[in-house]
Symmetry: C2
Subunit: 380 residues, 2 copies
């Protein structure tokens, strides 16, 4: 195996695939990085038991030559040393070559590294999944849907299914839902082409997988292809193949949690509300579980407050656009409210309450594609 390749392009691919590599793996060879030199380019692979990431660098693309010389072959290199060696190479180009003793030579300028490699035959085969259930999305839209939901997955393993985001297709809409049973985040978009054979309520992607995927993807309008089987989901762009296992089990029915009517509706400036909640949370952090209070005052003002007797208290009056319906006093987690408001892209949000002890929902003012739900806390 031999390849002479652009350092920065190689580094970008390395950074993508190492997101899947862990030094704490039960299968020792998975702590390595797989390099495959083929006739048309070079493919890197990183994997752990949950995620596999492949990144391909073509010989040339759009008139830019990334690879100068290549001889097919494959090798496993130390994921701990190889990335630093490439990053710190003195020249723009690096040459990587293996011999029959699995020695890997890396040359750049006058620097010459010799690394002990491992036989690529010992690396597990990565199945390219076969399925009819696939669809495509612009990458930036997928990243948005992940951002709007993934923070709400459960971090506790008591109900493992809740550590994932549920993907479902309903009425021509693709829907992402996450909940930790105290709050829920949902995001949906219309699908361009209908998708009839999408598995029902069982596509639950680990939140960690979606977070890693989102970090790797650039914020572009290019398409990403998503394919689903019974136990895996694959995300594919031009040069990236990202495979994640799905969580076992059936995701709970969440639609019935969402109140259909509201008794008090609040229209507020997103940023002002976020900052006031953030200030109130300052004194609610300890011994108090982040709980703050919100109280309506007339039809254009709310008071946000918190009280920790041992430390102090905070009160803030905030003028809002509009309050309709019943007067309200309600307590909730400032953390959940901050998480929900942070992902809102609109200047204003609508909050719909159904009483102090019922879940309330937060939405953008001008569309229905995002819905955040928070369960209140009993304090009044």
């Amino acid at each position: 195996m031999k390849v002479t390749i652009n350092r920065d392009k190689l580094m970008e691919s390395i950074q993508h695939v190492t997101k899947a590599i862990s030094s704490k793996t039960a299968i020792p060879i998975l702590s390595g990085l797989k390099i495959q030199v083929k006739d048309n380019g070079i493919k890197l692979t990183g994997s752990n038991s949950d995620i596999t990431i492949e990144s391909f660098i073509p010989v040339e693309e759009e008139g830019i030559q990334f690879i100068d010389e290549l001889e097919a072959g494959e090798i496993i290199v130390h994921a701990k040393y190889f990335p630093d060696i490439i990053r710190k190479s003195p020249k723009d180009t690096v040459m990587i070559e293996t011999d029959e003793q699995l020695q890997v030579t890396i040359k750049s300028g006058h620097a010459e590294f010799h690394l002990n490699g491992q036989d690529a035959e010992e690396y597990p085969q990565i199945a390219q999944i076969q399925t009819d259930t696939s669809f495509e999305l612009p990458i930036n839209l997928l990243k948005n849907m992940i951002k709007q939901t993934v923070f709400a997955v459960s971090t506790s393993e008591t109900r493992p299914i809740l550590t994932g985001v549920n993907l479902r297709v309903e009425e021509g809409q693709l829907k992402f839902v996450a909940t930790d049973s105290h709050r829920l985040a949902a995001s949906n978009i219309p699908l361009e082409t209908p998708l009839d054979n999408f598995p029902e309520s069982q596509v639950v992607v680990p939140g960690k997988s979606l977070n890693e995927l989102s970090k790797i993807l650039d914020d572009t309008e290019e398409k990403i292809y998503i394919s689903v089987t019974d136990n895996q989901i694959a995300f594919q762009t031009n040069h990236l193949y990202f495979l994640s296992r799905l969580l076992d089990g059936k995701y709970p029915e969440t639609a019935r949690l969402i109140p259909e009517e509201s008794k008090t509706t609040l229209l507020a400036n997103t940023k002002q509300l976020l900052q006031a909640v953030d200030r109130a949370s300052l004194l609610a952090k300890e011994n108090h579980n982040n709980v703050i209070r919100l109280q309506t005052i007339g039809n254009q003002m709310i008071e946000i407050s918190s009280n920790s007797p041992e430390i102090g208290k905070v009160e803030e009056e905030l003028t809002v656009e509009n309050i309709q319906g019943e007067d309200l006093k309600i307590s909730f987690s400032s953390k959940y409210m901050i998480d929900a408001l942070k992902i809102m892209e609109t200047d204003q949000v609508r909050i719909e309450f159904t009483g102090a002890m019922r879940p309330f929902i937060i939405k953008p003012t001008d569309h229905e594609q995002i819905l955040q739900l928070i369960l209140p806390v009993r304090t009044f």
Copy 2:
């Protein structure tokens, strides 16, 4: 006590004094931040057993009004909550007021905080030190001298005196020296006015104190006044007073460690050498104590290498400006070499060796104000 003050100016002072405040203190009141409102401004104090920092904000300075209204008084506030409250204040101005029950009210815009305060009478008195032994330096020069030496202090408490930087005055020069007994860093500058009564070899300032001081000081040419007593050192600028305890004991005599003659002299490009050493260190990190090798090849080339049989090896030839004297093979810690080269400001460095088993020194090429010394490791 009452004061209405510019938020950002207050925040800057808070950030300075909180550098001295630790939540893990044996004296509970020192986990608080002291606020003193005086007729001419406001003084903040933070302290732990080693360092005390005072920051003063005048009512106005250079035509800029920082404080609008004030009533003298003093209070201790939670150093854990107060800084965040000020940072997140909605308006540019905050009002701070105390009542007789030691309640602190902080108002900004419509946000109103009430914090439980503590009686300032219970805060330890900070002695302003009285001494004739004082001198002044431009701040940027002091920061440079700290940067050039403090990284070499010992991190081990086996010889506590080595965790500090030794300040001494010799032949009209102010000299900073730090050593962990494996390497030494020295920086010296000529003093503008002679200083006869400077204590001999016992002014040893904890490295941690100098690091914190350096972080607080802006990189300006303004003067800083330094005063020394038997057990304390004070650094004073216009509005900042930084007091540190000195380490107990006598600093070892280090001058005799520095070789007076050299057998091999190397002149190299600082950045190229630093990068080559950094690359060689990549495979020297584990099981190998960061040890790398340097070997002269003729009079214009060196080879830098390291070898970890279980991982791999690296070799790099580097063309240098000039090599004079005997051929040389020497091994040393790449970490020490990287630390030493990083603080060199000149494009080229001179390295003077006196054989493979003797300490070697690294200097700038055009002045004698910085000296770095490294002890080699026996491997050849």
